[in-house]
Symmetry: C5
Subunit: 281 residues, 5 copies
Amino acid sequence: MKEELGERMKRIVPTGKAMILAYDQGFEHGPRDFLGNPESRKLEYILDIAKKGGFTGIVLHAGLAEKYQAGIRDSGIPLILKLNGKSELYTEEDPFSPQLYSVADALSLGASAVGYTVYSGSKHEDQMHKEFAQIIREAHQEGIPAIGWMYPRGKSLFDRKSSSKTFKIAQEEKEKEKSLAIDETPSIVAYGARIGLELGADLVKVKYTGSTDSFKWVVECASPTKVVMSGGEMIEDEEFLSKIKGALNAGAVGIAVGRNVWQRPEPMDITNKIHQIIFGS
Amino acid sequence: MKEELGERMKRIVPTGKAMILAYDQGFEHGPRDFLGNPESRKLEYILDIAKKGGFTGIVLHAGLAEKYQAGIRDSGIPLILKLNGKSELYTEEDPFSPQLYSVADALSLGASAVGYTVYSGSKHEDQMHKEFAQIIREAHQEGIPAIGWMYPRGKSLFDRKSSSKTFKIAQEEKEKEKSLAIDETPSIVAYGARIGLELGADLVKVKYTGSTDSFKWVVECASPTKVVMSGGEMIEDEEFLSKIKGALNAGAVGIAVGRNVWQRPEPMDITNKIHQIIFGS
Amino acid sequence: MKEELGERMKRIVPTGKAMILAYDQGFEHGPRDFLGNPESRKLEYILDIAKKGGFTGIVLHAGLAEKYQAGIRDSGIPLILKLNGKSELYTEEDPFSPQLYSVADALSLGASAVGYTVYSGSKHEDQMHKEFAQIIREAHQEGIPAIGWMYPRGKSLFDRKSSSKTFKIAQEEKEKEKSLAIDETPSIVAYGARIGLELGADLVKVKYTGSTDSFKWVVECASPTKVVMSGGEMIEDEEFLSKIKGALNAGAVGIAVGRNVWQRPEPMDITNKIHQIIFGS
Amino acid sequence: MKEELGERMKRIVPTGKAMILAYDQGFEHGPRDFLGNPESRKLEYILDIAKKGGFTGIVLHAGLAEKYQAGIRDSGIPLILKLNGKSELYTEEDPFSPQLYSVADALSLGASAVGYTVYSGSKHEDQMHKEFAQIIREAHQEGIPAIGWMYPRGKSLFDRKSSSKTFKIAQEEKEKEKSLAIDETPSIVAYGARIGLELGADLVKVKYTGSTDSFKWVVECASPTKVVMSGGEMIEDEEFLSKIKGALNAGAVGIAVGRNVWQRPEPMDITNKIHQIIFGS
Amino acid sequence: MKEELGERMKRIVPTGKAMILAYDQGFEHGPRDFLGNPESRKLEYILDIAKKGGFTGIVLHAGLAEKYQAGIRDSGIPLILKLNGKSELYTEEDPFSPQLYSVADALSLGASAVGYTVYSGSKHEDQMHKEFAQIIREAHQEGIPAIGWMYPRGKSLFDRKSSSKTFKIAQEEKEKEKSLAIDETPSIVAYGARIGLELGADLVKVKYTGSTDSFKWVVECASPTKVVMSGGEMIEDEEFLSKIKGALNAGAVGIAVGRNVWQRPEPMDITNKIHQIIFGS
């Protein structure tokens, strides 16, 4: 199955670079993410962006993947089936995102990769580490790559009396670089990325740490697992593009972006700029 | 199995419109729902309404579905087996409604669809999302449609300090339109409907949001998953019929109604009016 | 398997009437129930009563059912294997009684029916509803009837601020008829019985509601599932016999009695009187 | 398999009497139990006592049972594999002792019986009742006896406001006989023993209740399940031997003893005396 | 499979002595462990140390084991697949480390042994004891040794009012030898080691107890399960080497060391000294 794994991986990272369109926000944040650009609520609209923009993957839950299976296949955009998810209707400091679909579901829906979010640091990290570990084992047996959304989160991260040395270092980092949230500090992001490697992910999606220098450490700690930067919520063009450049310079293979593309009234503008940065054309 | 799925779906939504008779209240609310019209405690009575009224589906738990299997088959009314349920004897702010029967049970009882209630926003949403996701996967493999009762509920929805942006918007909506309960605001209802789409439901049942305009957003966020309006507790004829019109104008394919039919002493009156609105005859 | 189900059901309810001897108290209450009549600790003694008294079923846990399998078979008394149980050594306001044996165990022990206690209203009702639902599905597939001990219980029932309408009605009922415990009010008992029907039980065992009139509602809400009155703790002969008459007049098919028989020094006296009331001879 | 069950049972209770050497304390209490007689830490030493002393069974966890499999087989001492266990490093008022090995493991290790501890009265009694019930079912199918360590325990037992009648009686018993701990009162011990019978155990190990008279009730409530007295912590020779006599006079088939043998510097002295009492030689 | 078990065990403990390189810290502590010697973040670097240093095993999670499978095989260093793990991002007084991979995964990755951490004393010890017990059973059936990281931990260990006798003794030991942490006292360490034996581990990794004399008790309580000393966090050369000598003199078969080797800028210096102590060359 090694061969199939490599072939599928090549669809997502065809020239060593990846540009992934994230579209699981309907589940994670709900329709409020579509309010600014209501067209974005439709997969047809999103798929059109993906095709025109030269994206190398699209992230979907099983519902959309199944209902638009023919359209996705015809578009040629590799499907990344997101295997877990949670809504923002339940707000817990220690999040848990349960596995909803299986690797077999992903294969039967024609996926080229499976995705899973891991909230290390949550009191439910045990369940997510276990689920993702088993997904990776099964995915590799079946010859399909596994991508980790590595997002350390939970009450522990804000526990100032914590005995964890990682937190002490993260707080020092945050004091030096005040604009960073605690889960954007190099120590925390690198830890999440490393767990991806340790568990066997083929690619991890992580938050940007604010600078090429610090993000290099993240990339190195994940290596040979590949790294893509997470797009996050919509920000100014320039700031966003500068983050992408920073991440790529640090060794990231690309980005996974959603809102920063399809929440803009003219998504192709930014898409073309991103493509230029990543693929040089 | 795609073909069978389509055929069964056509039984529930034969002309693109659906008129479903809900009768799981004996479990959800208990016999107190039958006090006003004691005849309503009997399935024979309910089935008679369904037949005379031209309903396109009847929602039952396994007990009634099994004990009246011959009668239901003879009636020609498509059976929707409700796969989960809870009693109101246990009152929890964060409800959980566990799966009681399997997709295989539904098929062996002759069902044309399976139903499942999802309380997104409850601290148990993880279990319900997971159960419903797996039910949908299995149902579609077996060629039977899956219907979601998408009812966001739970303590989180009333948490005024919540960091969730959906809640902030919902509270603004409620301030504008005071008659709405928080789980009837467009943001909350649309979120529930969208989760149905993301998970892969073929049809979702949701609360009405008070106006055609706002309900249109719900329908659009669920599309291409079809939407029926939930009947809810008994209200005046006129008010009820006006809600149905509003929902249909917004793009809903019909309603799922129980108490507003069989709690009335003369259920056929309202039934005929509903039929007229939905099917135009 | 339908035929076998009917045949086995006929053993328990041979002439449309049932007289069941309950003997799971050694687990539920422990040996303190045997103190008044120490002979009652022995199954030989109990089996002898069952035979002489013309009981149509005996309720046992797997231990006694197995160790006395030959004797039970020879006695001709149909065995009802109680599939769940709990001790009174752990005292919780929200009880949970877990499934201990399977339907297959019951069949291999020669049982004619399986029994299961459901504490709807407990915070663990989800687990019990699920277990009983699955037991019923499997039992019916294997052609063996399922009997529900439907006992609403738990902290919720005493929550005076509860939003549940059932509780409001139950409290009104209790105020009218002060001698009733909250779990003996018609609303609560009828709800428990109805859940038995909704889940698919063939027979439910419920508490008496104090009058023929109110118990009629219970029987009607459970119909076509059959109803037997629970014997409960030992009371005066006359009072007990009067309750049985009340239940039968309301449509119950009989009773399931334990302590009110074998805790008396002369169990055959009351047994013969019960037999006379139920079977008319 | 009935025949094999009988044959294996006969190894443990060869002449209707049993003398079992308990050696699971390394797990339950840890090495502190070996401090007084350090040689007792070695299975070779223990096995030597078992052989010389004519024990009819030795209780071990899987680790020792496997590493000394040849030696145990050669010794001819029947192996009783203890299937669950917990350490005293975690101290909880409501203990849970999880199943660690399966009935199949026991058979493959050459065991003649399986053992399991049940803490009825703990808030985890549901899990232990369930596990033991299923172990007994499986053991009997495979033709191997099941022995229950029936030890009611947990916070409930000390709840003076408890509604449980068993506790009221137990407290009265304790007031009459002040030297008894609450879990040594006849009501509590008899309840534990009875649960063993109800679940189907072939033999139960229980605490002594202080007198032949009260222990007779325990034996009667467990019958036909056989009863052995638990040795417990080291006490004076005379007191210990007098307890054994009391238990045997009450109908117990023997004892299961550990510390009272191998914690003594000269274990064979007491062993020979015990053998004399049980087997009369 | 006994033969294969012996052969694989011989790879890890070839001459009766073991020198194991631990490299699961990327998961357990995160990249902060690599900050002092950044090269240590790379498996190539670690594998090079292992080869040059004559290590008899290397401990990895599945991700690294899979991605470097060819390199590990070529190196000849036996692979020990660590089957469970947790991050320090979630900080709980009662730790739980869930099983992430199976024995079958280990075999398919070419492992010569499997490892598992047991936090006896944690309120989750039940799950870890159960998982490790089952891993050992399966490992031995498949002919692969099981190694236990036996680390008593949890709130209970610091409960001064505890009824556990082990804690009383441990506190006395700590008062005599103030430099010891509570989980380094002979009673606690020996208890952990003993649980390894009782469950069936082939080798246990434990903390050093500060002296040869006290560590001898640990080794004796674990026997015939073999014991290696845990390296722990980086300390001075002399102190570290003296601990190793102490452990070996007490009967340990070697050490499992990570940070004390690869956190040093010149790891081969200490490695050669360790090798000299263990293998005499």
